[in-house]
C-alpha cells in the first residue's frame, strides 16, 4: 500500500513549532547522535521524512514520538540547523491534538484562540467557586471547608474525575489504535507493562541515557510531585467517605507537602530554563508549554501558601488562596486529556504497546 503524500501537512507542523525543518538534507546526524534512537526505533530522521512528505498516519502510529526526551543533542549537532528536536516536540503536540476525540485538543494548540479558551475555563471555575461558596465562612479560626463546602468539592471533584476519565480513556484508545494498527501482539503484556511503569514512569531511566542528565531530576520532581499530591488527594477523599482510618490524615498531609515541594522544584526549574532559552529544548516554547508549567508552579505555590496562611491563622488569605488553588487545579485537570499533560499517559502506554505489539 503506498502512502499518499500530503503537501500541506508541513504547514500544520510548522505552526506547532518546527519552523526550520525544511532545511533537512537527510544526513542522519540527528539519528546517529541520539542516545535513545536504536535499532528499529530510528528517530528523529525518520520522523523528519514523514513530516516533509506529510505522512501523518505514519507519524501517529510511531511510538518513537514518545521515546524522545528532547535533550536537544540532535538540534545542537544538526549541520543545517533544522532543529530535529523541535520537530519531535511539535509532532508530540500534533499527536496529542490528533489522538483526542474529534481532535478537540486542537482548541488548545491554536494561537490567541487557545489563550482565550484558557481564560474562559478559568472564568468558569472562578464563577463556580463564587456561586457555590458558603455564604458564611468562619473567621475566628481558619476552616477552609466553611468557605468551600466539602459537598461541593466532592461533587465537583467526582464530575471532573468522570470527565477526565472518559476523555482520557477515549483518547488513549484512539492512540492505542493508531499505534497498533496493522500489528499483532507478539508476546506477554503484563511483564512489559510492569517494566514500562518501573523504568519509564517511576524511574524514567531512559532520561538517564540522554547526554544532558540535569533535566532528569526536575522531571522526576514534576512526576512525583504531582503523583504524591494525587495520592494525598485520594487519601483525603477516601477519608471523607470513611474508607480510610483517621490516622491516614497524617501521611496524606506529609505526601501533600512533599508533593508540593517537588512540584515547585520541577516546574520552577523548567520555567527558568525556558526563560533563559539557553538549551536547544528551551529555545522555543509553545504556549502549551508555558501554560502547563505555570499551572503546575502556581498550584504547588498556592497549595503551600494556603498551608502557610493556615498556620499563621489568617482566614481570609487562606480562603482566597484556596479558591485560587481550586481554580488552577480545575484548569489543569479539565484540560489534562488535551494538553501537554496528556504526555504523561501517552508516553508510557505507547512504549508499553510498542513492546507488546512488535511487528
Amino acid at each position: 500500500m503506498s502512502l499518499a503524500v500530503n503537501p500541506q501537512f508541513i504547514d500544520k507542523i510548522k505552526k506547532l513549532g518546527a519552523f526550520d525543518i525544511n532545511a533537512c538534507y537527510s544526513c542522519g546526524n540527528c539519528t546517529a547522535i541520539c542516545p535513545l534512537s536504536e535499532g528499529e526505533n530510528s528517530f528523529p530522521r525518520k520522523m523528519i521524512r514523514y513530516t516533509l512528505l506529510g505522512l501523518d498516519r505514519k507519524i501517529l502510529s510511531s511510538p518513537e514520538l514518545w521515546l524522545c526526551y528532547y535533550c536537544g543533542e540532535c538540534s545542537d549537532s544538526c549541520p543545517r540547523e533544522a532543529d530535529p528536536g523541535g520537530l519531535m516536540m511539535a509532532l508530540r503536540r500534533f499527536a496529542i491534538r490528533n489522538y483526542s476525540l474529534g481532535k478537540i485538543a486542537d482548541l488548545f494548540y491554536r494561537g490567541a484562540g487557545s489563550v482565550f479558551l484558557w481564560i474562559f475555563l478559568t472564568l468558569v471555575a472562578a464563577l463556580g467557586v463564587y456561586f457555590f461558596r458558603e455564604p458564611h465562612p468562619v473567621f475566628d479560626k481558619v476552616k477552609p471547608l466553611s468557605f468551600i463546602s466539602l459537598d461541593f468539592l466532592h461533587i465537583a471533584g467526582l464530575a471532573l474525575g468522570g470527565f477526565i476519565f472518559f476523555f482520557a480513556l477515549v483518547n488513549i484508545l484512539i492512540m492505542a489504535r493508531s499505534i497498533t494498527r496493522g500489528k499483532k501482539p507478539s508476546g506477554p503484556w503484563l511483564k512489559p507493562l510492569w517494566e514500562t511503569l518501573w523504568n519509564e514512569v517511576f524511574l524514567q531511566k531512559r532520561f538517564g541515557e540522554c547526554e544532558d542528565k540535569r533535566r532528569r531530576l526536575p522531571h522526576l520532581g514534576l512526576f512525583w510531585g504531582f503523583s504524591l499530591l494525587f495520592i494525598a488527594t485520594i487519601l483525603a477523599f477516601g477519608q471523607d467517605f470513611h474508607f480510610f482510618p483517621l490516622w491516614a490524615k497524617i501521611p496524606a498531609r506529609i505526601l501533600g507537602l512533599a508533593g508540593g515541594v517537588f512540584l515547585l522544584y520541577g516546574s520552577g526549574y523548567f520555567l527558568l530554563k525556558r526563560f533563559s532559552r539557553q538549551d536547544a529544548y528551551s529555545k522555543y516554547s509553545h504556549h502549551s508549554d508555558w501554560i502547563f508549567l505555570l499551572l503546575l508552579l502556581l498550584i504547588g505555590f498556592t497549595g503551600l501558601l494556603m498551608d502557610l496562611f493556615h498556620l499563621l491563622s489568617m482566614p481570609w488569605a487562606t480562603y482566597i488562596t484556596f479558591a485560587v488553588h481550586l481554580i488552577l487545579v480545575f484548569d489543569l485537570l479539565i484540560t489534562a486529556p488535551f494538553s501537554k499533560f496528556a504526555h504523561s499517559l501517552y508516553r508510557p502506554i505507547a512504549l508499553w504497546l510498542s513492546e507488546v505489539y512488535k511487528k
Binding site: 503506498s2 525544511n22 537527510s26 505522512l55 505514519k58
Partner: protein, 570 residues
C-alpha cells in the same frame, strides 16, 4: 655502416631498478657491445649532475647516439631529448629503454631473470641507437586566422577572445540567428542574468569587431590542409566560400533529450520537460497555471535521459542545478507551490550548493529513487499520480498527486554526422566529440589544429562551456600567433621507387595523410608530413613494403628483435 659512437647509461633509479636488476652486470654486458664507447651506471639519470655528466661525455667523446636505460619514456623522453639537444646531439639520436616499469617493477620476484631481461632490452636499445639518423622537426607556417563553427555562447565567446588576441575569426552558425540555446533563456543560474541579454551583449560586441566575420545559415562542408594552414569551404544560403585558416574551434553544442512516449508518463497531459516548464515559469503572469488550472504541486523526476543503464550512461551535469534554479523561480512566482524533487543523486556541485539551500528554504522536498525502481506517473482524477519508493524514508512507497510532472531531461549530442565526416573528428561512446584527455588536454582533439569546446564535447552548463571555449581560444592563439609550428618528424615515408599507387595506405590512414603524386611517369603515394602522426598503420598494409616510419624502419626493428632473441647472456 660506418662505425658509431654510442654512450649507454644504466640508471639505478634510487633502488627502483637496482634492487631487482644487477645494473653493474648489465653495464659489463653492454660494455663489450660493438660501437659502445661509454657504458656507465648512474644513481639518478634524470638528476642535474647525471645529465651534466652525459652532456660532457657527448661533447668530449663525440658520441653520435646515446641509450639511457631507465624509466618509461612517458616520464623522461623529453627530459633526455632536450639534454641531448643541449649537448649538441640530435634529439632523435637518443633512445630510451624502459627497464623500470617493464622490468624491475614487473619482476620483483626474479632478480636473475630481471637482470637478463635488462641486458636484452638494452642491447636492443643499442641496436636501435645504431640505426638512428638525425631528424629535424617538421615546420609548418601558421595563418593568424581561425574558424569557429557554432555561434552559441561558446562560439561567440571564443570568437571575441580570439579577436582580442589579434586573430582574425570567421564565425559560422547554422541557424538564422546567433546565440544557440542561451538566446532563449531568461534567468540563468547561478547569476540570475538573462541569457537573452548575455547573447545580445556578445553578439553586439562581435558584430562591432573588425576582426570577426559572421556567417549565419552557414555550414562547413569541406576541410583540407594541415594545422596552421587549413583550407575550408563554407556553404551559406547563396554561395560557397573558400577560406584559409590556421585553426578551427568546434562549438556546435548539444540537443536536448526528448523522452520517448510513455517514458515516466511522457505524453500524458501535464507531463512536461524541464525546458518547457522553465518557459512556463518565465512567461507566467502571476500564479503558475497549466491549461487554465492553478498549479499547486509539482513533481520533478530527475535523470531523464541521463545515467541510463543502456543508452545515455553519462550525467548531464547541468540539470540538477537548472531544476533547483527553476524551482526557486517557481516558488517566487507561486509562493504557495509545493515542489517534490524525485532524484537519484543531487549534484549541485561547487557554489551551486546554494541553489539547493535556497530551494529547500522555499520548501522543496527531496525524495530519492533507485535505478531499479523508477517512479511511475499515471493519470488520477485530474491529477498525475506519481508513485515511487523513497530511499530516504526507509524505502516506503509513496504517491504524490501532482498537477505537473516535470521530466528533468538531459543533454544529448547534436546530430552532426556531416560535420563529423568533414573533420574526421572522433566521438566518444557517449556520442559527443572526444578530447584527447579530459583533464590534461581538455580541448584538444587528435586532429592537430582542431579544438572542441562547449557542450559539443559533453554536457556542460553555460559557464563551463564558456570556460572551455576560452581554453580553446588560448590553444588556438599559442598555435597561430607564433607564425609557425614544429611537429614530430617521426612520420611515415614512401619509397617512390617501390610504390605502385594502390591506395591501401590512404585507406588505412586515420588522418588522411597520403596524397597521390606523379613520380617518374607513374603515380605514387606521398606522405603529407604535417598530417602524419607516425602511427605506422600504413606500414603493414603496403603490398610492396614501400613505407617506413622514420626511427622505426623495418631494418631497425629487425635488428632490435635479433638482439632480443639472442638472449641476455649474448
Amino acid at each position: 655502416m660506418s662505425k658509431r659512437k654510442i654512450g649507454v647509461y644504466i640508471c639505478h633509479c634510487g633502488g627502483n631498478i637496482s634492487d631487482y636488476v644487477d645494473v653493474e652486470k648489465v653495464r659489463l654486458a653492454i660494455e663489450k657491445e660493438e660501437d659502445v664507447v661509454v657504458a656507465k651506471t648512474t644513481m639518478f639519470a634524470c638528476s642535474d649532475a647525471a645529465q651534466q655528466e652525459m652532456m660532457d661525455d657527448i661533447k668530449e667523446k663525440g658520441l653520435d647516439a646515446i641509450v639511457i636505460a631507465s624509466c618509461s619514456p612517458k616520464l623522461h623522453l623529453f627530459t633526455f631529448r632536450s639534454m641531448a639537444q643541449r649537448a649538441g646531439l640530435n634529439p632523435y639520436q637518443y633512445v630510451q629503454v624502459n627497464i623500470r616499469e617493464q622490468d624491475s617493477w614487473a619482476h620483483t620476484d626474479n632478480v636473475g631473470g630481471a637482470t637478463e631481461k635488462a641486458i636484452s632490452l638494452v642491447k636492443a636499445g643499442v641496436a636501435k641507437a645504431r640505426a638512428t639518423k638525425p631528424l629535424e622537426p617538421i615546420r609548418v607556417e601558421t595563418k593568424k586566422k581561425a574558424l569557429v563553427v557554432g555561434g552559441g555562447i561558446s562560439g561567440l565567446r571564443a570568437a571575441l577572445s580570439l579577436s582580442d588576441m589579434g586573430i582574425y575569426v570567421f564565425l559560422i552558425e547554422k541557424e538564422k540567428e546567433l546565440g544557440g540555446w542561451v538566446r532563449n533563456f531568461s534567468s540563468m543560474y547561478p547569476h540570475n542574468r538573462s541569457g537573452r541579454e548575455i547573447i545580445k551583449t556578445l553578439e553586439e560586441e562581435a558584430r562591432k569587431r573588425e576582426r570577426i566575420t559572421i556567417f549565419t545559415e552557414a555550414e562547413l562542408i569541406e576541410k583540407s590542409g594541415v594545422l596552421g594552414d587549413f583550407r575550408v569551404k563554407i556553404r551559406t544560403r547563396d554561395e560557397v566560400i573558400n577560406l584559409e585558416v590556421g585553426s578551427i574551434i568546434i562549438t556546435t553544442g548539444f540537443e536536448e533529450y526528448r523522452p520517448s512516449e510513455g517514458e515516466f508518463g511522457f505524453g500524458l497531459p501535464g507531463v512536461i520537460t524541464l525546458p518547457q516548464f522553465k518557459k512556463m515559469v518565465e512567461e507566467s503572469q502571476g500564479e503558475l497555471r497549466f491549461n487554465g488550472k492553478k498549479v499547486n504541486t509539482v513533481a520533478y523526476i530527475y535523470c531523464v535521459g541521463s545515467r541510463q543503464r543502456e543508452g545515455n550512461t553519462y550525467c548531464s551535469r547541468y540539470c540538477c542545478n537548472a531544476t533547483l534554479h527553476t524551482a526557486i523561480l517557481a516558488s517566487k512566482v507561486s509562493p504557495s507551490i509545493r515542489q517534490f524533487h524525485l532524484y537519484r543523486d543531487i549534484r549541485t556541485y561547487g557554489k551551486n550548493e546554494l541553489l539547493y539551500e535556497d530551494a529547500s528554504k522555499f520548501g522543496s522536498v527531496f525524495l530519492k529513487w533507485s535505478e531499479d525502481q523508477p517512479p511511475e506517473a499515471s493519470p488520477n482524477n485530474g491529477h498525475l499520480r506519481v508513485k515511487m519508493k523513497d530511499l530516504l524514508t526507509e524505502g516506503e512507497e509513496v504517491e504524490i498527486d501532482a498537477d505537473l510532472v516535470v521530466l528533468v531531461t538531459g543533454m544529448v549530442p547534436r546530430k552532426n554526422e556531416a560535420l563529423t565526416e568533414v573533420l574526421k573528428l572522433p566521438t566518444g561512446r557517449d556520442g559527443f566529440y572526444n578530447e584527447i584527455h579530459p583533464k590534461l588536454r581538455p580541448v584538444e582533439t587528435v586532429i592537430d589544429g582542431v579544438y572542441i569546446a562547449g557542450a559539443a564535447q559533453g554536457p556542460k552548463n553555460s559557464y563551463e562551456a564558456v570556460a572551455s571555449s576560452l581554453a580553446a581560444a588560448s590553444k588556438v592563439a599559442t598555435l597561430v600567433l607564433k607564425g609557425f609550428a614544429e611537429l614530430e618528424p617521426q612520420v611515415a615515408t614512401v619509397d617512390p621507387e617501390k610504390c605502385e599507387w594502390c591506395g591501401l595506405c590512404l585507406e588505412a590512414c586515420p588522418y588522411n595523410a597520403f596524397e597521390k603524386v606523379g613520380h617518374g611517369g607513374k603515380e605514387v603515394a606521398k606522405v603529407i608530413e604535417a598530417l602524419c602522426k607516425g602511427c605506422g598503420g600504413c606500414v603493414p598494409v603496403c603490398p610492396v613494403d614501400a613505407i617506413d616510419v622514420k626511427g622505426y624502419e623495418d631494418a631497425t626493428i629487425k635488428s632490435m628483435i635479433e638482439e632480443l632473441l639472442a638472449g641476455g647472456e649474448g
